[in-house]
Symmetry: C2
Subunit: 348 residues, 2 copies
């Protein structure tokens, strides 16, 4: 998993800015009908005649959002796209294009950027988004990735954060907390590696958690699944900063309260084992871990039968009047106010 640092290296200075962009983007294919013109002019041209345009921007900074000691560059590129695509999915929209801007210090050889871009391209291929623009420049220190994701949706299909109503059910896709514990495992291994570089870690017991951290997936599949079930959520948000933080956002913007049931929060069996091993409370991890890129949404109570037993969804609570507040109902049936302690990009 740790990178081989002894590869052939090509200095970025030899290529220059335009050379680098051309090199990295030379075999990009356009797959979206809505992409009229991609990379190669002052701007890209997109055509969304009947649909609305959905747009979201995100910034990933080395040393703040990722650590290249255990994050292979290809995975990083993949994850950067996923994080942005996830924001489009969280509007119940379909991602269609991205722009990718990179700032890199000269310590990165061309081969490193090729690796990064390979991950970006792979994600673009898998999520069927066209790379239509961007910028590449040098940085004073480290690597910085700025992605803008563009998507489309019929106005009537778009789901905002502010539509939740009392008695709606609170639903989450997938399971929570695994990405955070994957990071804890990787950080532990990094420390072991620093003490003894010859130690070969056995990560078999952590594969799912590590994959959730290094190669998360955005839930582009949820929109078509919901359409098939004839459900339009009343509100939706993606869980990138931890469940509690996102519930608070959703409730604040919808001006409602919420009861979240601890026993309902979905966790993978591997997460349960590893939380025991690390002696960390699993609910704390699920509530505050972040980086799961699952979707959190609310549906009308009447739609419950449509999702009952569906393995993609777990009902974890219900919406209340604002005055009732936002609470976690513990396994012991005590009611405690939910607090945001999600990962904060400005805390170091």
């Amino acid at each position: 998993m740790l990178e081989d640092k002894n590869q052939a290296k090509t200095s970025l200075e030899n290529l220059g800015e335009f050379g680098l962009i051309e090199h990295l983007t030379k075999d990009l294919k356009i797959t979206q009908k809505s992409t009229v013109k991609g990379i190669g002019d002052d701007a890209a041209i997109l055509d969304f005649t009947d649909n609305k345009v959905v747009i979201s921007a995100d910034l990933l900074v080395e040393g703040v959002h990722f650590d290249l000691a255990y994050m292979p560059l290809k995975h990083l590129g993949y994850k950067a796209v996923v994080a942005n695509v996830s924001d489009i999915c969280a509007m119940n929209a379909t991602p269609t294009q991205i722009t990718v801007s990179l700032a890199v210090s000269n310590r990165f050889p061309l081969e490193a950027l090729e690796e990064l871009y390979a991950g970006i391209k792979l994600a673009a291929e898998i999520y069927k988004v066209d790379i239509v623009g961007g910028d590449t420049t040098s940085s004073q220190k480290g690597l910085l990735i700025s992605i803008t994701a563009i998507g489309e949706a019929k106005l009537n299909d778009i789901v905002y954060r502010n539509g939740a109503k009392p008695n709606d059910l609170l639903v989450v896709t997938g399971d929570l907390g695994a990405a955070y514990m994957g990071l804890q495992v990787l950080e532990r291994e990094k420390q072991v590696f620093q003490v003894n570089p010859n130690n070969q870690p056995d990560l078999e017991a952590y594969t799912y958690l590590i994959e959730r951290q290094l190669k998360p997936e955005a839930r582009k599949d949820i929109k078509p699944i919901l359409e098939k079930l004839e459900i339009k959520p009343t509100s939706m948000i993606d869980i990138s900063d931890g469940l509690s933080s996102e519930i608070l956002h959703l409730c604040k913007q919808s001006r409602v309260g919420c009861n979240l049931y601890e026993e309902k929060i979905p966790a993978d069996p591997q997460l349960i084992n590893v939380c025991e091993e690390f002696n960390i409370d699993i609910t704390t991890v699920a509530l505050n871990g972040g980086e799961d890129y699952e979707l959190l949404f609310t549906i009308k109570m009447d739609d419950f039968d449509k999702i009952k037993g569906n393995p993609n969804f777990t009902v974890i609570g219900h919406i209340t009047e604002a005055k009732e507040g936002i609470h976690l109902i513990t396994r012991e049936n005590t009611k405690i106010p939910l607090k945001a302690r999600g990962w904060n990009a400005l805390e170091e």
Copy 2:
């Protein structure tokens, strides 16, 4: 012009990521009909029913693209927006929205970001673009600004880089080279300041050049002017990296050659004086200086009468067959191949 460093300072850590975004964007107004939903959800929603969407991304890095020793933060914010708006103008499109992502090290107090954002907001107001999204995070070192600009145009109005044909006229807006010489003046003053901080520079003779460097304007006015004149350019590009570099791009993508006439290149009288003072060749500056944010375009020969004598435009050359190459015809009537020596973001 140099900043007062002794202001009240509020640490960014106290605000947190969401607090900072809310603080900086709290009084943003939506002015574009096409902005359905701006900041405040996972993504913004835009509506361009009858028009195509034009999109461009750009990255500005401290120490690479700007130096805060002589670039006041408000000007920097303004210029960052201008540079992106210029890319949309260069498609003969109308800029409508931007997303703004910032990465800042903790050495910046909140007041510094407020200054920066004040410049961003001022430019957004003047160019009538809505700020519809973005991201704010910490950086390991310095300040980084990533802007994505969005615009709209009828498909038939859009002008690409690749449409120039032999015998077309090569036209430029405004004058060239001033932004570069403004930078030279500022760098000289920075050095003087470092030797003697009490020295008050007299910059009266350089006001135009310094303004072109610190507060450039994008040519959003050109599209309506050309429409009124009933001219549709055959190709267009913005001059951010220097005239010669952009001519080469335009000719390469259009697969044509070009003759550029040295005596026609428009220069401001102040530029002429300062080039003499610095003992720098004015043509070299105009060809390679960059950051002028003027537009370079080609028109059919038949349209010449429509722009003749128009103070916005200067015909500086004409397009030839590709096999004739790309040349500068000097004042002495010698023909020398044009080379790109424009500012290169990857050279430090």
